[in-house]
Subunit: 170 residues, 2 copies
Amino acid sequence: MESALSSHHDKGQALLYLTDEQLRQGIEAMFFAYRGFTADPDRILAQFSYGRAHHRALHFINGAPGTTVNNLLNILGVTKQSLNRVLRSLIEDGLVESHVGKKDRRKRHLFLTVEGVKLEQKLSNAQRLRMRSAFRTAGPEAVAGFRTVLEAMMDPKMRNTYSNMRDNGS
Amino acid sequence: MESALSSHHDKGQALLYLTDEQLRQGIEAMFFAYRGFTADPDRILAQFSYGRAHHRALHFINGAPGTTVNNLLNILGVTKQSLNRVLRSLIEDGLVESHVGKKDRRKRHLFLTVEGVKLEQKLSNAQRLRMRSAFRTAGPEAVAGFRTVLEAMMDPKMRNTYSNMRDNGS
DNA sequence: TTGGAATGTCAACAAGGCTGACATAAACTT
DNA sequence: AAGTTTATGTCAGCCTTGTTGACATTCCAA
């Protein structure tokens, strides 16, 4: 599907790195890497009869304690109905607490319980372990490039969300 | 792997880039970027009442025409029942053809039809468009880093699969 | 000829997306 | 104050796509 030019690397990557074949490799790299990225937490979650959706909720509540359901909705990009199901099970199981807002009593503020923090840490430790290993193998410059490309690949709206998190969180 | 000095502190990122906060940012970057990565094809697929599973099948059959069901199973990492359902609908709709093997008549070799190629191109054009734009924005060195980190993040088994594809396909 | 491998099918089930309908609280209009 | 609108959260039901288990078929290979 691509020209005969892309035969071997290092010919001057500056000119070649946007060929269809390079892009295809990027696409497949994303696919396989994302599978690796989620594999370790998935195994842990399965032991608790939870799924990735629970992990995501725990992760972002942990990162922004007291966040509202609607805020979480925007971050996760799912419907409130879908999130609600996950949230309900986490609350029932005592991993998350939901408090009615004091200023605006329509809002629910979400917090991890001690148990919730425990599971969140178990999950993120596993995920960080793999990422740390990948970062170490690749080296700091590769990590910077990785972050740059990922950021450019996000939807602009989520890029803002992401940047705000980064700025507040560091 | 020399030290990158982009940060405000003089400690040198070489020492800092593996903090939990850096790793957390990497984790969230993966999450948001993957969503962007799949957003465009998802919109097209919805028009055809297909899902990501169909896209993945089309993608890998296109990349390796004549591949067998079992090979596809290994690449995609799903059960044969799950793949079979997707494959059946693609065959019924005339996007994929399944030919009994000549050497080994147990095996089915899969090919895209003209229609199948059409849809696959529509999908991958959309996906490449975003990736090309991200690559352009980030620049060649960032792209190299991106690829390096992603490769390190894969499961070893899939890393081999990925490398073989890259070597054969370029 | 028998065992195992590759494929396909049927059934049942679960996770986690979705939409629609609706309840409640707060804010806004009149 | 009353009624309307908006924001938020909940409940019910559907769909895709993953899972397991059971089982049939076909064919290669020892």
